[in-house]
Amino acid sequence: MSQHTINSKEQIEQITLKIITSYRHLSEEEMDWIALLQDIQDQFRYLPPDGLKLCARELNVPLSQLYSIATFYTCFSLAPRGKTEIQVCMGTACHIRGAEPILDKILQQLALNPGETSPDLEYSLETVNCVGACARGPLVIINSNYYGNLTMGQVENLLSKTRDINGEGKNG
């Protein structure tokens, strides 16, 4: 289950500590830092700095190493992400099939730039490069649901629709 509110430092540390527990027994060679960070990101939908610091202390790893990993992979975020995560595919196929105007439309509607999260933590917007569903381009992914073969008209309704179904985990 992922948290939909910003947690206090205590809460973050408590939850992170639980995740850390399942990694403690691993030897240095077995340790999978990416998996650990993924578990934390799944929990909070971002990597809270306090959580990272706790990992560094508890698992005796330099914080700088965790920070390197956390900033290398785009799937990790160090700032809270919105409840609705929107990814617009800008890969070659989607680009040719008209991703550009679709992105523009979404930018307008949300008043966000790619990589930003709305101040009320409702939306995060991101562009991605090909998600392997080129035949269905242009394509937008909203909270892991794929919306393919989009027309400009559909984009218009998409966001209000997701607002309604958000949290119910329906597949589009």
Binding site: P49, L52, P62, L63, S64, Q65, L66, Y67, S68, T71, F72, L78, A79, G115
Partner: protein, 293 residues
Amino acid sequence: MSWNDQQLIYISVEGKKISGFAGENLLEVINREGFEVPYLCHHPGLPAYGACRLCTIQIQTNGKTSLVASCTYPLREEELEVFPHTEEVWELRQMIIKLLLAQSPKAEIIQNLARQYRVEMTAQPENESEFVAGTKTTEALQEHQEKCILCGRCVRACGKLLGNNAISFASRGINRHVTPPLAEPPEACTGCGACFHVCPTGAIKMQMENNSLKIEPWQAEVNLFTCPGCGKQHFPKKNIQEVHSRINIDYKPDHDFAEANSLAELCPACRRKHTLAQGLASKTITKGMENIL
């Protein structure tokens, strides 16, 4: 294995026979003989890295010719002919320098290389200030970014050499940069200054200010130790504590000068005076020898 039973290897560089020890890196061996192969990311005190490729040379072994980065090429038993400055090598270095110059136009060492290799400045990227996305750009950061070539010497010195790991690489692609974790003042920094000393481009600044030592752009600030002898500020406290704990000396920050069980807290000048006084007292140093110290 001691120094003198290391195996000697002979190679030929531009027809000249030279030797080095097995396992030594080619760059150091040929530069020792004065061939002046340029390098940036390599540092004799640090593990090999092979990031900048400036040390590329042409080699011929087993009848095959190839270009290799000499700093990561260990000397081993083989017929090896080296050509450090062929036309092909020269062109490759020109390209590397051209890219470095575009990336770090303010670095003096790059400007000098550009002059030496007759490389001219190309157009600059427009959005330099947006370089590191998501971090606020201070003046110190800006200056750093215009000089840093991402050679990783500072990161290796801090991590691999000293084990402090106060800084590391972050992000990737055009956003790759060196930073303390979370872009916050680094807790792990002891103020040793190793990063400052190994940086080839002057992208790191170290300054004494009031009672502390500042290292930018890491926002590192550590307190300085007051010399128990003369009261002058000298080494960073954390650094002295670190040294003490590593060599297992009980650290007593408040013991007085007279009963110092270690000289580490004295500033270099007082330390010399102290050694001299002791030496004269115990007659291991005679009058007249004192000006040697």
